[in-house]
Symmetry: C2
Subunit: 201 residues, 2 copies
C-alpha cells in the first residue's frame, strides 16, 4: 500500500562518503548534502535522522570498504606486510587519480583530527574504528606468524600499531601534494621498515 522510496540508500551513502571525505564534517552544510545526495530535508531526516547520523553511517561504510580493500590486497599479495604495501601503492599511485588523488588521507584519521575534544562523539567513533582496523591487522599478522611469514618472536599487536602508524603517516603526507616519484620513494623506504619482521628462509 505504501509508496516506495525514490532514492537509493546505498547510492546516497556513497555520495555522502565522497562529500564528507572531501570536506570533513563541520565544513559540510546541509545545503551541500541536499545538493550532492539530491535529497530534500524531509527525506534526509527520515532516512538518516540527523547530519551526524548520516555522517556516522557514511564513516562506517567507508571503513568497511577500506577494510575490504586492504584484505583483498593482502589475499592477492600472499603476505600481510607486502599486502598492505600493495594496498598503499594501489591507493596512492593507482589510476584512481581524479577522486582519490585529491583526498588520499584516510577519512577516519581526518575525522579523528577534526574532532573538537575528548567529549566530541566524532572522536569516539573515529578511535573505535581505528581500533577495529588495528584488531584486523593484529589478526592478519597472527595468522601470518603461524604461517611462518613472520619471525616467531614478533609481537603482533605491537607491529599492528606500527603498521597503522605508517599507513596514517603516508596517507596524510600524500595529502600535502607530493609528487608521484616522491611517494614511490617513500613507499620503498617504508617497506624497508618491515623487512626485519620477516622470517628469513
Amino acid at each position: 500500500m505504501p509508496r516506495t522510496a525514490q532514492y537509493d540508500r546505498q547510492a546516497a551513502l556513497q555520495a555522502a562518503i565522497a562529500l564528507f571525505w572531501r570536506r570533513g564534517y563541520y565544513a559540510t552544510s546541509l545545503k551541500d548534502i541536499e545538493r550532492e545526495l539530491d535529497m530534500r530535508p524531509g527525506s534526509l531526516y527520515s532516512a538518516f535522522g540527523s547530519k551526524q547520523g548520516l555522517f556516522v553511517e557514511a564513516l562506517d561504510a567507508y571503513t568497511a570498504t577500506m577494510a575490504d580493500d586492504v584484505q583483498n590486497h593482502i589475499a592477492a599479495s600472499g603476505g600481510v606486510l607486502s599486502g598492505v604495501m600493495a594496498y598503499l601503492r594501489w591507493l596512492l599511485l593507482g589510476q584512481k587519480c581524479p577522486a582519490l588523488a585529491a583526498t588520499p588521507a584516510c577519512m577516519v584519521v581526518k575525522t579523528l583530527l577534526e574532532s573538537t575534544g575528548d567529549e566530541d562523539p566524532l572522536r569516539g567513533k573515529a578511535t573505535e574504528l581505528l581500533r577495529r582496523v588495528e584488531l584486523g591487522f593484529t589478526a592478519a599478522l597472527e595468522q601470518a606468524k603461524s604461517a611462518g611469514e613472520l619471525r616467531p618472536d614478533v609481537d603482533c599487536e605491537r607491529l599492528a600499531r606500527l603498521l597503522q602508524t605508517q599507513v596514517m603517516g603516508v596517507r596524510s603526507f600524500a595529502q600535502s601534494g607530493a609528487s608521484e616519484r616522491q611517494l614511490k620513494q617513500l613507499l620503498e623506504d617504508i617497506e624497508q621498515v618491515f623487512l626485519s619482521y620477516r622470517q628469513a628462509h
Copy 2:
C-alpha cells in the same frame, strides 16, 4: 596622545593557538574566540583582520614554536635522528600532560586534513608550512651527513620526507588514545627505522 592597546598580542596569539589546535578552524566560532582571547569583535578585527587572518597568524606562530622545539632537541641530543626521536618522546611522553596529551596531533596536519579541497587557502598554507619543516629537516640532515653521522650515500631530501611521515604518523596515532606503554613501544620501533641510515663506526 593615543590610547595604548589593552590586550597583549602575543598572549592573544597563544590563546588562539590553543583554541584552534584543539577545535580546528571550521568548528571554532567567533564566540569561542571572543571568550578565549577575552577580546571583543572590534579589537579582534582591528588586530587580525578576520577569523582566517587570526588563524593563519596562529598557525605560523605554532609552526615557529614547533620548529624551535625540534631544533633544540636536535642540538641537545647531538644527532638529528636521535634529536627528532627525543622531541617525540618529550612531546608524547613528557609531563606536558594536561594541554598537550589531549591534542598530540600536529596542528598543521590537522589543518591540512580539515581543509575542504584544493582551492581551500588553508590547504595551501598547511602544505607551505609542511614544506618549510621538510626543508629544515633536509638542511639538518645534510649537516649531519657532513659531520659523518649519516652514511654518505643517504638521500637527505628523501630521508627528510620519511622523517616527516613518521612524525605525522605517530602524532596522529597518539591522538587515538593509545596508552603510554604503547606509545613507548611505538617510538622504539620507529627508532629502528632510522638505524640503517646511520654511519657505522
